[in-house]
Symmetry: C2
Subunit: 381 residues, 2 copies
Amino acid sequence: MAAVLVMQPTDVYYLAGTGQPCNLLVTPGREPVLFARRYLELARRASRVERVLEGAGFSAVAREAQLGEGPLGMELDVLPAGLVDRARKAFSEREIVDCSGLLLAQRAVKDAEEVEAMRASVALFGALHEAMAAHLRPGVAEHELAAELVRGLRRAGHEGVIFQRRWDARLPAEGALASGDNLTTMSRGPITVTGVGLSEAFPMGASKRRLERGDLVNVDLGLNLAGYHGDIARTYAVGELPDGIAPLATACREIQDVALAAIRPGVSSESVYDAALAAARRLGVEDSFMGYGELKGPYIGHGIGLELDEPPVLGPGVDTPLEAGMVLAVEPKLISPAFGAVNIEDDVVVTADGCELLGDLPRSVFVVDESGAVSGVPSAA
Amino acid sequence: MAAVLVMQPTDVYYLAGTGQPCNLLVTPGREPVLFARRYLELARRASRVERVLEGAGFSAVAREAQLGEGPLGMELDVLPAGLVDRARKAFSEREIVDCSGLLLAQRAVKDAEEVEAMRASVALFGALHEAMAAHLRPGVAEHELAAELVRGLRRAGHEGVIFQRRWDARLPAEGALASGDNLTTMSRGPITVTGVGLSEAFPMGASKRRLERGDLVNVDLGLNLAGYHGDIARTYAVGELPDGIAPLATACREIQDVALAAIRPGVSSESVYDAALAAARRLGVEDSFMGYGELKGPYIGHGIGLELDEPPVLGPGVDTPLEAGMVLAVEPKLISPAFGAVNIEDDVVVTADGCELLGDLPRSVFVVDESGAVSGVPSAA
């Protein structure tokens, strides 16, 4: 490529260090240039790039760029077609190719500072646990529980928005919360325990369903602290654990243990999935592993960082080798109309010889009794 | 156009009535076809379109389409360039043109049912006022206030996500909250009172600044009830109204009154802005009207509906004539480092001979005293 013109806010933040709306031009052998779409002084103050110019119109960028031979890279997976057409015209009909794969591969491996930022993000999930202990009671509606949850997360420092790359992604700040029949109704998605939401306009997340004693409640949420995301899921039982759930909780944790043990530099992303699937078979829970019937998601986790969902997917056919410094969310789920859903998701960093959990929230299914006391099955390891 | 292929979730919901991920093919003279990207049964159950097929790959859509002469319309303002390229290939290199203007023009005029849905959405802003009365106190941090606000809105029925069309839009569910110096630091945007946020990764919205007695706090928020948005802004004073604010509050309301009086079918969008600007001049507040110095936003409002920000902009150069059934947010702001910001935003529906306010929250700057009692300046009209 003759140059790369980066516009997506997360990519700009990663490379230039500012969250102000900017276009970043990176040309081999030349100093990078940041073009501020608004608020030049704030962009200049925050930017790691020295050269910050006012105005980011494509003609101004093209004049400044003076490109050599080769195509121009842009983020074709996220930038609107109309916008890219305007860029193509301003760059005299130059060929434009996708540079997102390159950026995402670079972002996949975190440096020590980024890992610490993600550890700090994951630490805020204590607020999830506190909110559930205080408010998970019979009679509370899913959306009321979601309200308490988002309050706690926002107070703890959650930015209030989750960064996602997909053009049609929409997710409330408190993630997807579901209970009862809503645990097995997969709606909108693309995740497997989605909830059904408040209305057809946005049919996922918390609904107005009221909790009853013995219900399971699944919470799958991202948390954005200073741009770095944690992604955790837990299942909570209202008042008492329903019959038959304890062995499923133990199986779910065992599948997660097997997946974590399979993670180390050099192995392929799909091998982690293969190990988890083999464990699900051995434990006799293959039918409910990552969904049921036709509604199964072929993955056991994914990369995570400045966006909630980053490459690589830990799933069949993904041969990306794992590298030290990658941060991965590992999320075995058992889902079936016979019992609902059991879900344990945690985030790990790949180390020189394995992986390390970023948080210390017990990897259990929790029961919250009517006094707010919480017990876990299996108990904390 | 030979046909229009609609993919953006809000447009699909508007035309087909489902929030499930679908592609909608509309061909003149033929029955529309909905292609479910996932969860066929849920899409079929909710859809107003009779013919719902499984699988939404572009080759399947192209086979089914059997298009006549003419280009294919797609939403080029929002669909990623890479996605549109794949569609172009599947449709044998057919020309693809933007159909978003067409869809947005149709969506701009609401029917009676939509107006009632928006009235219901605006009614939920009582939750804003209650949260501010209960929690606006010296010592509270902006993000703690935001946490209480989002809790109240979510309990009231807010979907938890705001639908926005811009590809790079990001907004917390409780909107932009700012106080003190943060009222006049315009960051990220694009709105004029943005707040500065918790971190450089997302530098807008509530920060960790702690409120002091005599501070002004600005809250500008959208609310999504069943897909239809309200957009309201109010300014609250902590404990007492600072000197000099009462006449600015009166001026702000008078500018809004003038703008509302200028709205009726047949007038141009820019004429509403012109009327508001003339009022600001007459009242001697032109320097702070919609910003200060170089940081001014040339508009007084915008359309609103299934997205928080819809055409037309009420601003200079926009000659779109207003029509009965349009719903508009009218938001005069006075902003200056000399006093901070005063902001009154409300939503109206254009009627046969003028417009009608959709809500009944008093159009005042409010003072919340230490007991939680609220008074308004100017008092409710």
